[in-house]
Symmetry: C3
Subunit: 497 residues, 3 copies
């Protein structure tokens, strides 16, 4: 086009002003050397970083911000690290002694994976809070739990129809990596060294098993848990993106945890979708009303929120159950949130690795007390009260309590039917000491809680899920599935006669 429109002129000027700014900041010599090759090799990756705050602000500058505006929580950052932009080398060279994935790369000792323990160099509070976040234990809480392991095998392992019998055999690692562990996180292990012929000659690299992965409970080669990049996507590590609901949707959209779908059809989601271009997703602290007029996932569950006069409405937290009284999903019955993010010791009276009994009663020793639940609700409600009246908020939480009770009740009736089926030996489950997820009625029972009760609860908890509480895998399907389970029992009876 020969005539540049004014809008484009302005955008060009704005990009130029960003570039000028970036050039002013000193890069470390090592990072400059990294960029020498990698800007050519991985232009997209480098461009993401170039547009990131890490490339534009040094830790020293970041530390000078008033406390409420500060984005770094560590106070003892090494002086040398403080002086330059946070570049390739600054992150990929930390704590190399503890990194099994550390290797000599053109004379530098480099780690492939930057772990939460590395990010803690500048963001120590967040890294620490995250260890108390149930997500950080998503790997072990799944693969070390004998009950959930049975479920993953039913889903992931190899089936065989032989001699008119359908049997489940072994599984394979690659399937697990992109199935459950895609979100839960893999265990990344170094299995050897490979020599590659690159544009810059022959080079050695560690071979990683379980890589790539950005799951929330990833076990890193330095032994740490989690991946900050689950939400702060490489290599922009943007607070803006983490605050937008699209990030959460990566793992929280399926029928087992339809949070994003519920959000989209809620008033909050509608306002976000309609008005996001006018919101400011990059400000710290995040000012209710000024920066946004409807919450995103982060606003309710994580962000430091203030009012216009800088009164703190909610403290920043990376322990996302900090404002959550209940564990709503992934369990047969919703129950008070577990006390400990690591669930390896949890066991109920039937010997199952659950913090809840098969009749829906929580196991008191593993879960929040009523008092602790109230404290967490109070923190969340302060967020709600920024826009809603006390009555609005109270009635909302009363509905959620009722919905938890009602969805648990449906699951209990389904459980009673399944127990009847087991008792009569139509299918083999708990009494027979066998997998409780692999037969027809068992799978119907699983659907009742894993999908339909969850959807109904999210539609309730998030203040308006429209159809997700009714016809979209909500109460309609929950009762339909109960009906089918009952019909299956009747069929077993009829065929037996």
């Amino acid at each position: 086009m020969r005539h540049l429109s004014l809008v484009w002129v302005i955008m060009l000027l704005s990009v130029l002003s960003l570039s000028v700014q970036a050039q002013e900041l000193r890069l470390s010599e090592q990072t400059e050397e990294c960029l020498g090759c990698h800007s050519e090799l991985h232009p997209g990756l480098v461009a993401s970083w170039m547009r990131s705050r890490h490339s534009m602000v040094s830790p020293a500058e970041a530390l000078q911000k008033p406390e409420l505006q500060r984005r770094v929580s560590s106070v003892d950052i090494e002086t040398e690290l403080q002086q330059t932009a946070v570049g390739c080398y600054e992150c990929h060279s930390l704590r190399t002694d503890e990194h099994a994935d550390s290797f000599d790369h053109n004379g530098f000792q480099i780690n492939i994976i930057v772990s939460p323990a590395d990010c803690a160099t500048c963001h120590v509070t967040e890294a620490d809070q995250y260890t108390r976040n149930i997500m950080s234990h998503a790997y072990g809480n799944l693969v070390d739990n004998t009950l959930y392991r049975d479920l993953t095998q039913v889903v992931n392992n190899h089936y065989s129809f032989t001699k008119e019998q359908l049997t489940i055999g072994a599984g394979d690692k690659l399937t697990e990596y992109e199935s459950c562990l895609y979100c839960h996180g893999t265990k990344v292990e170094v299995t050897g060294i490979v020599t590659r012929d690159t544009d810059f000659g022959e080079l050695d690299f560690p071979v990683l098993d379980g890589w790539p992965n950005q799951g929330v409970g990833r076990i890193n080669p330095d032994g740490s848990k989690g991946a900050c990049t689950s939400c702060h996507s490489r290599h922009a590590f943007s607070i803006e993106m983490a605050r937008k609901p699209f990030t959460c949707s990566e793992c929280h959209k399926g029928p087992d945890v339809p949070a994003y779908k519920v959000y989209e059809v809620s008033k909050h989601g509608n306002i976000f979708n309609s008005k996001q271009a006018e919101f400011n997703f990059d400000e710290v602290p995040w000012t209710v009303g000024k920066d946004f007029t409807a919450p995103t996932c982060a606003a309710c569950h994580a962000s430091l929120l203030v009012s216009e006069d800088d009164t703190v409405i909610a403290e920043r937290t990376h322990q996302y159950n900090d404002r959550l009284a209940w564990r709503l999903f992934g369990v047969p019955y919703a129950h008070p949130h577990p006390l400990d993010a690591d669930l390896k010791d949890v066991v109920n009276s039937a010997g199952l690795p659950l913090a809840v009994e098969m009749n829906g009663e929580p196991v008191a020793s593993f879960v929040l007390t009523r008092q602790q639940q109230s404290e967490r609700n109070a923190r969340m409600q302060k967020v709600c009260l920024s826009c809603h009246s006390s009555q609005w908020v109270e009635n909302h939480f009363a509905r959620l309590d009722n919905t938890i009770e009602r969805t648990n009740a449906i699951t209990f009736e389904a459980t009673k039917i399944l127990q009847d089926i087991w008792r009569k030996d139509f299918e083999k489950g708990l009494p027979q000491g066998q997998n409780i997820f692999d037969e027809e009625a068992e799978r119907m029972w699983t659907g009742v809680w894993l999908f339909y009760a969850n959807s109904t609860r999210f539609a309730s908890a998030m203040a308006g899920g429209g159809d997700y509480g009714v016809f979209a895998k909500g109460r309609y399907q929950s009762t339909e599935q109960l009906n089918k389970l009952f019909a299956k029992m009747q069929l077993y009876e009829a065929l037996q006669k």
Copy 2:
């Protein structure tokens, strides 16, 4: 960041210019007093209002606009109300005598809920049209209809598995409020007075049952029906948001009414999603081509549309069936649109509260005539013709007619199978005078029309739903469900022998 980019400078200037403008407009003394406390208590809510047209334009100014550009339809607005911004007090103090939720609040008589009858003060035509909109009767048309009440009980009530029988018991109000009534609207009733200890001392408030709710057929404490805030979300009441499809998606996305999903994958939805940043959603009248190049839900169903020379293409309407010949969803058979939005008197020859017989024939006395259908189609087609040729439009509507006929035919075959099942007493329904939604085959039958026929029809009506007419709960599932229903009948037969 030390260097403000030019883009940000411009945005700041623009916000400043808006603020200057807002300050120029006089607020009423009462509203200023409201804001004294509530800006601090509910900063998000107040910020939404501050950015709204209500805070920036007085009714007097609004009335001076040329007729086509006017956003208020009342001509007899009280002089005092005309002079100030439309603030807290201006809306929450109207018609207090008729408001059961009215109470003394710091010396002012305030209503908690602003109802359509209050909004009619300035928007009388829209409020009046809305009473003829079937949505305004969504509460009564559901809970006072014995047939649909049976369906809601199957979905919402409490199940019990006792003595090897599965039975449906009573329901509970809180479940209903967030299930069907979330979209249909609750009946909001004042049940008492509560004294609260607030930041500003002890204060009394009415206690509301059925609150919060923004359902389209909400029964308000002043006896009026509906909630303008269903679409014009508090406290921005924005025409922009109501014109974006996200608003409609709050209730029109589930499998029973997948309008938004269909829109998203249509050409129209694609163009909206790709180009919305270049559209102008705030202009009145809304000029085809200039303000937008693809319609949203509002463009086809509600908005005042003009061409560049201000020729009216479609009159604004809040009776959304004004351009609709057919009732497509929520009924066993699609049929000509009901004549009256209030369906309480509707009954077919079998005594069922439906405007259609069980064989798909509409009950003529309750529905539009062919002639009336043609008039409504003509209004809609004028919108289509803004971009499409006569042949395009005719062929599109011929396909829709065919799809209505074909989906009704599938439902009729399913109905015949179900009637056979009832006749043989395998399940108990109409002949036995029992709930027709609560057994296995009955639920299969329900799925045929409530989900799959609906999806197929929406995919047709909205000019391109891609998979929603085929594999995404469309014809594939409709015929599969018919097959399953038939197999169920065969199984009943086989087991009986």
Copy 3:
């Protein structure tokens, strides 16, 4: 509003500058005559074109661009066509002799449908590549394939429940047009001439059967295949829209091909959704890092990509399998991509019109060799390597290979069960020479590959589909369906006794 905000001033100026530019370009006399009536008749359509590149740039100007920036590929465009904007007449008057839909319209010979063969006037390379794209044969590959025709009949034809039997009867054209053929494309045929009474007097128009349609394999009245407007929507024909994923979602969102859903929850989709306002979708060539920091569908599958120094990363292609080694969906087993886009001669050893045997073995003569697959993978991997390391990319492709193997294995087990059911005559399929899609177990088998295996494979191929590989019609449903199929076989056995 009395005070125009600065942002609006700027937008107005920018629109003005565009208008000035458009006016500078000469329109042909014929196009000016078209616009004389049609701006009034179809303001939306004309406005789309007015904002398009076609209205602003003449072919002569387009040809002067450096090769990498050039958007036209023909070098021998007629001199007369080169001098004006690409207006109504320039496109709708081409090759009239070959157009059955050509007609005299106010003294001009006009075609209703502009076909790929017409677009080839300026875009010859793209039109040519598209003929080798499997999409261009989507019509014939469906309706001329006896196996898929059986499937379409089960989905689209009329069912009848008579004398306690459910039978499938004839179908109807209008249903087919908006069912499978909506995406696959209709055959558009001229069936007569109609005289219409228009605002400009009586006029004759060809009557088109199968119109409207924008399906990818549409058979046009000039005998050509496809519709450029499938992706370059009328009348903007925008590269920006074709590069945004919303365009692909029109046909690639349903459970049979959930590519868009997978994209949305992938890291790539998250970055696109969060940062698209900062991307530049209109530049040619498309520069990785500068114009975008996460790929859309087009980036990986179609676009000409360069790095900042204009090194070509990927050549533009309209043969979208050019970077694809495997055919993932729409077939019982994933197999190496077919050699020829036209599948009419494909047949396996069982005589079925498939490039794969019923045990999952590809039929070598119809599909890519390993070597050819490697070449296609290499082209795709060059795109991946713009942001990802060699190890990342290798491991990703190894997972995809494994997932193809595993999902094919599940389908094979399901096939063995179905073959058992056929052998025992419980249902009638291949051995009986009957439709293999129309009975209960057959439909379960279809679901295993058509929905669940596909979803699992897309979640793998697109580097992160979250739940679409597990609980959202992924491995969970795939194994559940296998279980149900097995239970169905058991039920047949039990009832036989």
